[in-house]
């Protein structure tokens, strides 16, 4: 991470720490808009900050640390899609989505949507799951299941129905969204759409990896404080070697996943969505998400009884890690990684 990003990180951490853990949507969304976080990846010619995926990941990491409810990632995906599009009024739309407090959200999981038509007269049908904060969104970013179309869909039309779907992870408010012939505007179609979908999913993988590692770090720190403070058998728990070694094992897992994420971001610079970047993104997301789950599972045990009480935040990390595992599907990522490697080999 360069010096500029480190400074940005320091200030982001201060802001987020002020928001408490978990950081509620109502208290952070406005703030992060105001601070211009959504301008991160917008090019300078579009009045953005022109920063790369590494900046977006850094912010995702800070939001992950604080279990933020704010729909930063889907909003960033929608903005990225808009930036990449050739839409005429994109500057205007971007202004609303980056600094205007308007939210365009998206599914964090799969899409089962079909699109017909073209340009600004698309018709969309199907279902989106795990759409974050849909009730606060004016727009939805949607891609079709064949990746041939990426669209913006106004949320306030009758053909769009969002149903809240509460889940174990209370730090992200998810919705099922049904599109019954909803009208939409194409951001990309055909091969361009395919490339854009690859780019968006790639960005999602990196950001999810960062979110996971932010959470894993925060939880391990919290747990070590707990172990240090809690005395049993006239010793702090942190003095028991069996527990120390388990903390060390968690630390090393986090360190490796972080190194892989940072190294990948360095190496893909400017080539988000390329085969190589997609491969790297899957590895980074896989390792980070597996690490987050492992850390959360171990920390629940290391926290003992207090970890089982809802007032203590350990379970919030655990539940977020469990959800994140399924956003992108761990099992299939392992298979995808092997697949991509074997394919490279046979070239």
């Amino acid at each position: 991470m360069n010096e500029f990003l480190k400074e940005l990180q320091d200030s982001a951490r201060q802001v987020m720490e002020g928001a408490g853990t978990p950081a509620k949507e109502e208290s952070t969304w406005g703030q992060l808009v105001e601070l211009g976080w959504l301008l991160t990846a917008v090019p300078e010619e579009l009045d953005g900050l022109g920063l790369g995926a590494d900046a977006l990941c850094m912010l995702s990491g800070e939001l992950g640390r604080n279990l933020s409810e704010a729909p930063f990632l889907p909003a960033a995906l929608a903005i990225e899609a808009l930036v990449q599009s050739g839409l005429e009024n994109k500057a205007e739309l971007l202004a609303g989505l980056t600094m205007g407090g308007e939210l365009a959200t998206a599914s964090l999981a799969g899409s089962d949507v079909t699109a017909s038509g073209s340009g600004d007269s698309l018709t969309l049908n199907g279902k989106l799951v795990a759409v974050q904060s849909a009730d606060n969104a004016s727009q939805l970013l949607v891609w079709s299941n064949d990746s041939q179309c990426v669209a913006l869909v106004a949320a306030d039309q009758a053909a769009v129905e969002a149903v809240s779907r509460p889940g174990w992870d209370v730090t992200r408010r998810l919705f099922d969204v049904t599109l019954n012939g909803a009208a939409g505007v194409a951001l990309a179609q055909g091969a361009e759409a395919e490339a854009l979908v690859a780019r968006l999913l790639n960005l999602r993988d990196f950001a999810m990896a960062a979110d996971s590692l932010g959470g894993a770090n925060a939880l391990l720190e919290l747990t070590i404080v707990h172990l240090t403070d809690r005395v049993q058998f006239a010793r702090p728990l942190a003095s028991f070697q069996a527990l120390k070694h388990r903390c060390a094992d968690l630390k090393v897992e986090i360190a490796a996943a972080e190194a892989l994420l940072n190294d990948s971001l360095l190496k893909i610079e400017g080539q988000l969505g390329s085969d190589d970047a997609v491969f790297r993104g899957k590895k980074a997301k896989y390792l980070a998400s597996a690490t987050y789950s492992k850390v959360a599972e171990e920390c629940l045990q290391l926290s003992g009884g207090i970890g089982m009480a809802s007032e203590y935040p350990c379970h919030l990390y655990l539940k977020r890690s469990m959800l994140s595992e399924h956003l992108g599907s761990q099992g299939s990522y392992e298979a995808d990684i092997a697949e991509a490697f074997l394919r490279q080999l046979s070239i």
Binding site: A109, V129, A130, R165, P166, G167, W168, D169, L174, T228, R230, V231, Q232, F233, A234, R235, P236, S239, F240, A242, L243, L300, Q301, G304, G305, G307, M308, A309, S310, E311, C314, H315, L318, K319, M322, L323, H326, L327, S329, G331
Partner: protein, 400 residues
């Protein structure tokens, strides 16, 4: 008639009775219900089970349902698990911990006073753990001060199962600070309706609240309710803790085994049974669950034949906790993203609800409570494998 045949007959009898009497669809009925309905269901089931004599097989001869051998008790537990009958979690402390403590350590007067109430459905809770005395139970601080023919209690207990609904409490207090931590403890029987007792439920990460904190503010307990002698509470507490040793884990591991079919059915329902990776993991889990059952069975057989060795119980608990974790972890994988929705919970169903993230989180009850995995590993390594004990005194060297 050989004892083999006698247990076979008992097994048939219990199985037939359960087939007729287990409330159909109790799992569904207990999903997201309020406490009141759950209580009613528990009360009904307790009445049925005790009328049939299956609620108190571990009580001595002479009591209703009592006088069963350990082998017979095992049969009853196995069949209850096999029939997927509800667990009597509301009465468990009364029927096991309270009753066995009273029978083993209580005075004749105490037995006559309290045992009939237990048979009548009085609810007991256990007041042992404290916020700063979990794994290190002996360091507890709740104070009992003798004043005339009363003890005056001040302090706090935590993680007490169902304390908010309990009529009485098995209370372990400190009456003396001068000796080593295990000395100076005293065991009392407390009426939960006594002035100065307040109970606050603990909101659990699963959404349930089956545990509670109990606060004591100058609570009075008559010396008639002292069990054993003042200062001898640690020994009495050991009797309480041993009261269900082995049996519970036989039942729970059998329940886990029977519920493997839920897991397999869930796999078949969502197609993951065709995934070769998850299939192999299922194979692994099946072998481990069977291992847990075999280990629990073997432990009980050892107890029956008086061959129990130190550490044996720890092996059973540790392996069970780990198998349960593996089992519920596979469940989570199978449920996938869908499993992450619907945070509904099911009262009194322990681990086998089919809501896998819930079951997974509940599996930590077994790796943390009642002697954490770490405590079991200490016992196994030090007392079974004879590796050197952790130092009894410890000095912070170096520092942060």
């Amino acid at each position: 008639m050989s004892s083999e045949n006698s247990t076979d007959l008992l097994r048939q009898e219990v199985r037939a009775w359960l087939q007729e009497n287990v409330p159909a669809g109790w799992r569904e009925a207990m999903t997201n219900v309020d406490q009141e309905l759950f209580f009613e269901a528990q009360r009904d089931w307790f009445k049925k089970l005790s009328a049939a004599g299956y609620a108190t097989p571990h009580w001595p001869e002479g009591w209703p349902g009592g006088g069963r051998s350990l082998a017979e008790q095992k049969v009853i537990y196995e069949e209850v698990a096999r029939a997927d009958a509800p667990r009597l979690i509301l009465y468990f402390v009364a029927l096991y911990h309270a009753a066995c403590t009273l029978m083993e350590c209580g005075s004749k007067e105490q037995q006559e006073k309290y045992l009939p109430g237990i048979l009548n459905g009085e609810i007991w809770c256990q007041g042992f753990s404290e916020p700063n005395a979990g794994s290190d139970l002996a360091s507890l601080k709740t104070k009992a001060e003798r004043r005339g023919d009363k003890y005056i209690i001040n302090g706090q207990k935590t993680w007490s199962t169902m304390a908010q609904y309990a009529d009485r409490c098995l209370l372990l207090c400190r009456t003396d600070n001068s000796g080593p931590p295990q000395a100076g403890l005293t065991y009392l029987l407390l009426d939960m309706k006594s002035p100065g007792v307040s109970v606050v439920p603990i909101h659990q990460i699963t959404g349930d609240d089956e545990f509670a904190e109990i606060f004591f503010d100058d609570v009075e307990v008559s010396v008639d309710d002292l069990v054993g002698e003042e200062g001898n509470g640690w020994a009495v507490a050991q009797a309480t803790l041993a009261s269900e040793r082995g049996l519970t884990l036989v039942e729970l591991s059998q329940r886990m085994r029977y519920s493997l079919s839920f897991l397999a059915e869930a796999m078949q329902a969502n197609g993951t049974s065709e995934d070769p990776v998850l299939r192999r993991e299922l194979g692994n889990v099946i072998a481990r669950v069977d291992g847990a059952c075999a280990l629990a069975d073997q432990y009980l057989l050892k107890r029956i034949s008086h061959q129990e060795q130190v550490g044996d119980a720890s092996l059973v608990k540790l392996y069970y906790a780990q198998a349960l974790r593996a089992y519920t972890t596979l469940g989570r994988k199978i449920a996938g993203l869908d499993g992450m929705f619907d945070p509904g919970f099911m009262r009194g169903a322990t681990q086998e609800t089919g809501n896998w993230p819930l079951d997974f989180m509940n599996s930590y009850n077994w790796s943390i409570a009642g002697g954490s995995n770490e405590i079991q590993r200490n016992i196994i390594s030090e007392r079974m494998l004879k590796m050197p004990r952790e130092p009894k005194s410890w000095k912070w060297e170096g520092g942060r």
